[in-house]
């Protein structure tokens, strides 16, 4: 039983789901405004690197997190400029930025840390110890000792859900992603709204990168995000473009990943369980959802479409 729902598996689920959830939240914000940002992977990566870099240079954790988030925002800003102002192809721009982020972080990592590796003395994001859960059998192990970013992520999910569906700016953001012309005719600034959304997505993805480097690993390594930004996009789709749904999807995906570790070597009816195939679940579910075979997954109507106000 422990390999299926033990404290270890649940704790791992949360650890694996958190960066994916943050990327997915970024995706929700930007796509709800109508801009596809596949550069979330790159935003995560620069977040992971510049978090470590700033932690090394300043020795200050808040400065490190701030630097990481700014790096993510800057990368996203380039995408916003290309996608919103220049109406360039959003997929090509996103691909270019992912390659740029990979090249840039690996280049700097080599130039700065190739001989020593990233320093082990940098300040890390602390875990939150929930003493009162110490003796709770499963729960204590699962959530009694998780990173502060895990809890921050939960808070962001709640806040973002409220923002999108319970506030006036959220209403406007959604209207821009669904029907920009309608929003425009009502005096809502489509481009400005989309800029803010894309920048926010960069910040959220970068925080996911910080979690990987300054919380889980304690260091940076080349391409350490390894596709999590893309799983985040999958979680966003499977979560039907809502923050709570994205978190749920990230947890489902994370649980599959956690099982693929805990079930390693376990034999079912004499055959070794194909744990690796568990990791394909996010991708298969996502395609099936978009195809309408599993539930109904509807993307914002104007998602990925550049908007040009009527010519005067």
């Amino acid at each position: 039983m422990d390999v299926l729902i033990g404290a270890g598996v649940l704790a791992a689920t949360i650890r694996l789901a958190t960066p994916v959830a943050l990327a997915a939240l970024g995706g929700v914000v930007t796509e709800r405004s109508g801009v596809v940002n596949i550069a979330l992977e790159g935003c995560m990566l620069v977040g992971a690197f510049f978090g470590v870099f700033a932690a090394d240079r300043t020795g200050s954790l808040p400065a490190a997190i701030a630097a990481a988030v700014v790096a993510g925002i800057l990368l996203a800003a380039v995408h916003a400029l290309a996608a919103i102002t220049f109406r360039a192809d959003q997929i090509v721009s996103g691909m270019a930025l992912n390659i740029l982020a990979l090249g840039l972080t690996s280049y700097l990592d080599y130039q700065l840390y190739s001989t020593t590796g990233t320093p082990s003395t940098i300040p890390l994001v602390p875990n939150v110890h929930l003493g009162f859960l110490e003796n709770a059998p499963v729960l204590g192990g699962a959530i009694g000792d998780q990173s502060a970013i895990v809890w921050a992520t939960l808070a962001i999910v709640v806040l973002l859900q409220l923002f999108l569906f319970r506030t006036v700016p959220g209403l406007r953001l959604r209207s821009v992603g669904e029907h920009p012309r309608a929003a425009d005719t009502l005096g809502i600034d489509v481009r400005r709204t989309r800029y803010w959304a894309v920048l926010a997505s960069g910040a959220l993805a970068a925080l996911g990168g910080v979690y990987l480097s300054l919380s889980v690993a304690g260091s940076f390594s080349d391409n350490m995000t390894n596709g999590r930004g893309f799983i985040g996009l999958a979680a966003m789709i499977f979560g039907r473009w809502t923050p709570v749904g994205a978190l749920g999807a990230a947890l489902v995906f994370g649980y599959g990943d956690a099982l693929s570790v805990s079930l390693q070597g376990v034999k079912v009816a004499g055959v070794e369980f194909p744990v690796q195939l568990l990791s394909t679940i996010p991708y298969l579910l996502t395609v099936l959802a978009v195809a309408g075979f599993v539930g109904r997954s509807r993307m914002p109507a104007a998602d990925g479409q550049p908007y040009e106000s009527e010519g005067h």
């Binding site: 006036v168 959604r174 029907h179 309608a182 929003a183 009502l186 009527e310 005067h312």
Partner: protein
Amino acid sequence: MALETPIVEMRGISKRFGELQALADVDLTVHRGDIHALVGENGAGKTTLMNILYGLYRADAGTTRIRGNEARIAGPRDAIHLGIGMIHQHFMLVPPLTVAENVVLGDERGGPLLDRRGIEARVSELEARFGIRADPSAKIEDVPFGVQQRVEILKVLYRGSEILIFDEPTAVLTPQEVDDLFQIVRTLRGEGKTVILITHKLREVMAVSDHVTVLREGRNAAQLVTTRTTPAQIAVAMVGRELREIAARSGTPGDVVLEVSGLTAPSDRGGPALKGIDLGVRAGEIVGLAGVGGNGQSELAQCILGLRDASAGVIRVGGVDVAHDDPHRTRRRGVAYVPEDRRVEGLVLPFSVAENFILGKQDRAPYARRGILRADAIRREGARLATEFDVRPADPDIEVGSLSGGNQQKVVLGRELSESPKLIVANQPTRGLDIAATEYVHERLLDQRSRGCAILLISSELDEIRDLSDRIAVMFEGRILAVLPASEATEDRLGLLMAGHVEAVGERSGTSPA
């Protein structure tokens, strides 16, 4: 009334889009508390003029006065500020949001938190005042078009509009919904609001409007008082009139080639576009399909070709039912098609002239053998057809997109007519062409008739229909109201039929298909 300052006064408005002169020196005067109909065919410039009034476009020339003061309307914000509201033809509504959210969007009032109850209460209040019914908490995607339109009206009333522009408001409504809408419009007038109604449906003009401004091809065609005019008069103003002799017909029609019966089909937006069409075209005969644009003509053409699925009915070409065939199979039966929009549907613009000549024939002799293109045959045929159909320059390798409109249409004709079709469906074949090119197209169609081809000619040019057709069918709101022999199709009669008056049909001509 004439002494009162008009609430809207537009003078000498001109607007050009690239090469297209959309509006030329247009005037519009609307009085307070009036229901003013702005009528004209598709492309006459109605919507463009209203987009200028609403600030979506800026006029190249001309002035706009609101309540006597010259107004510079640079965007919808300015228009809203001046008390102008627009109910768009394509609803500007956000489907996943509620009725109330859509009404207040952009002007939510109250703090940054979304106060759903407060918003819904405000919207209910507004509904009560103007007698408009719509559940404020329903999602737009779950309510019918009629309700969505009421939401559009609520949106502009919420912003305190005094002047309400309705752009083709009945296009997607059921008859019952149309009645409801007109009731609302009259209530608005009773509350002192001014209504501008863009439409091409004459019944509506007669039913609700006080004054009528008719536009044709971007110019003023008539300014009328509704009670002192007739639908036929408006119809003729819309399509233009020119008295001429009807050319004598030659030859006798042969067997029925196209036979359509009981055809119904949906429109792109869900409602029915065709409501039981019966029509026949014989060999060696041109049947003109007249009617104000947008009454189902294009949908009929698409159904015949197989580009649109019919919901019921039969389409026979040479006795074979093609109602469920795709364009590939329909064309194999000898059907040729001259589409309405040659730049999007007729041609692949970046392809060369020769390449466009073989579109749809790319897998057949002489252009291909066993799936391999024969470049020499394509070039040779391309050069021959370019010469035969007088494409200038007669260069098969030139990119079609770089040719003039007339020469582009010659490429379409060259492709469609060169293989001796049994049936030609030509939709607006001379739209936007100069006189020489128009004559050329006409000659080619008459040649095909002499050869024994059956031709269905769809046109909004009454002259073109009357000059070429042996019989004329008039379409109105998805139905064929009458099929007249050309000799009996007087302008008055056609005008009345185009306005939906079936009484215009005499005793002798029925609605018999062939």
